[in-house]
């Protein structure tokens, strides 16, 4: 694989990270919750699609028609029954709650589906690719995944910008107490945000399951990549999340081009570099402000 090929595949790989990270960014942006169970919720989506394909004998894409509404309901109920209570107890409690949820989901999946790896059928598109040159061919499935990520992130952006739900989400994110005073039910807004976030996680989980095999403990790794994409892209920014996913994907693909063992490591190093650079810039900003005042 050439360097160009590595970059192109890295960009397309970024699509799946961005798709997974979009819900994480939404929940953090609206409720300031870092949902540590986000990757596990994505896995539930993958396992639900697996159930439908195995027992109802429908294609994975058709299974999404049942999985996504189910994920919306799960997200809504999760917020109203569990996260809402933990939010009232301070910032640390939601972190602990979602960490506990991550462990519970992993164990439940292991109990019901065994520790064995599973995978989802991506259909005929899974083997189709566009051959650009002798050293570069672009898999259609990767293009589809990237396209879905762009559509989901673009759709979320449009909803946030132009709809009443979007205005309510942004207003509640900025000041939940004042939002209540203009007639917004902040609890309902939070629940709807979580519903959307879990649905995008389930969608990402299904695409992840078609892309590679998964097991009950894969959630933590997926969470890590999603978290890195959110941080690289700038926390709370949806288009930034797509950028973050692409940077992470390219870093991993280029790292793997150097040595296949560097795939994950190179992504983590870029994440750390962005984190250090951003912290240094913020510290520089503070120094600048102090100089300005002084």
């Amino acid at each position: 694989m050439t360097w160009v090929s590595a970059v192109v595949h890295g960009i397309l790989l970024g699509g799946i990270y961005a798709l997974l990270a979009s819900g994480l960014a939404l929940m953090f942006g609206v409720m300031r919750i870092i949902n540590l169970a986000h990757g596990s919720l994505a896995l539930i989506g993958a396992y639900m699609a697996f159930l439908f394909t195995e027992h109802v004998h429908v294609s994975t894409y058709l299974a999404l028609a049942a999985v996504l509404p189910g994920a919306l309901v799960v997200g809504y109920v999760l917020q109203r029954t569990m996260l809402e209570r933990s939010l009232r107890a301070g910032q640390l409690v939601p972190l602990l709650t979602t960490f506990g949820l991550l462990i519970v989901i992993a164990n439940l999946l292991q109990y019901f589906f065994s520790p064995d790896v599973h995978s989802l059928d991506e259909g005929s598109i899974g083997t189709a690719s566009w051959r650009v040159s002798s050293s570069l061919s672009i898999p259609w499935f990767d293009v589809l995944t990237f396209g879905v990520a762009v559509v989901v992130l673009g759709g979320l952006q449009l909803v946030l910008r132009f709809t009443q739900l979007g205005r309510e989400l942004r207003a509640t994110a900025e000041d939940a107490d004042t939002a209540e005073l203009v007639g917004i039910n902040a609890r309902s807004v939070y629940a709807r945000a979580t519903a959307i976030a879990v649905a995008t996680a389930a969608l990402a989980g299904v695409f992840y399951g078609m892309r590679s095999s998964f097991d009950p403990n894969a959630g933590a790794a997926q969470l890590l990549y999603a978290f890195e994409a959110v941080v690289i892209g700038g926390i709370g920014s949806l288009w930034g999340t797509l950028g973050g996913g692409i940077v992470l994907g390219v870093a991993q693909a280029v790292g793997a081009q150097i040595n296949p063992e560097y795939f994950a490591l190179s992504g983590h190093l870029v994440f750390l570099a962005v984190l250090v650079a951003r912290t240094a810039m913020q510290a520089g900003g503070i120094r600048l402000t102090l100089r300005g005042v002084g």
Binding site: Q164, R167, E168, R170, A171, E174, D175, D177, T178, A179, E180, L181, V182, G183, I184, N185, A186
Partner: protein
């Protein structure tokens, strides 16, 4: 006139501090009531308790004859109570128009639409697509009042609308309020500027250390009486 708002023996606490003590009063439909008092008298706390932002420790709040004491703030807005909070509290990253439209969450129909608000506050017309954070104090205040009006309230609660504004801006804000009052709106106004409060209100309630120490119709109170009550020189009077 029938009372639209009844507050009965209301107590509100901030932790150990009792900010409002056994406060009772009524507001009639179409009336403008001014709550005056020095800093820390409990005016803002009382207004926020009526709006649902503070849960009372005791007492009862009724609106249009129904007990709303334990009703959530957003449900009170749906019933027709709107608060313009102290410090405006706009959503800084939303535009002026978005700040107005967000209030349609209350789903109350009426005369107040985005166009009606922009007509009532002409200074906002050229700013409708600007972020609230970039507005001047007067522009923010106009937006905050417009945002409350967008809920088409039956009762408008205004908390220190002149605070931190230039005198010329305060004049403009009060001119707009005058038009609302003439239109028959029911208003409870918290104001530290006695002259202004007594200029627009039908009735004045003076608070001191969480209690009502003086109340009466504007014409039945002298400036000296209110000033004495304001500074704690006179207690327990009703004109």
């Amino acid at each position: 006139m029938t009372a639209i708002l009844e507050v009965d023996a209301l107590d509100v606490r901030h932790g150990l501090l009792q900010a409002v003590r056994q406060v009772s009063f009524e507001v009639a439909e179409g009336e403008t009531l001014a709550l005056v008092g020095a800093n820390g008298a409990g005016k803002t706390t009382l207004l926020r308790a009526i709006a649902g932002a503070h849960r009372p420790a005791g007492g009862r709040i009724s609106f249009e004859g129904r007990d709303i004491t334990s009703l959530a703030a957003h449900r009170r807005v749906k019933r027709g109570i709107a608060l313009v909070p102290e410090g405006r509290r706009l959503f800084p990253n939303l535009t002026v128009e978005e700040n107005l439209r967000v209030s349609t969450a209350a789903r109350r129909s009426g005369a107040w639409t985005v166009d009606a608000v922009l007509e009532a506050f002409p200074l906002l017309q050229s700013l409708r697509h600007k972020r609230a954070a970039s507005l001047s104090g007067g522009e923010q205040q106009a937006t905050a009042i417009g945002r409350a009006l967008m809920t088409n309230p039956r009762l408008l609660l205004l908390d220190e609308v002149s605070l931190g504004l230039a005198p010329v801006v305060v004049e403009a804000v009060y001119r707009s309020l005058g038009a609302l009052i003439e239109g028959g709106a029911t208003i409870v106004l918290v104001e530290q500027d006695l002259a202004r409060a007594m200029g627009v209100a039908d009735r004045v309630v003076c608070m001191l250390e969480g209690r009502i120490v003086l109340e009466g119709p504007r014409g039945g109170l002298t400036r000296e009486q209110v000033t004495e009550a304001y500074f704690g020189l006179r207690r327990g009077a009703t004109a």
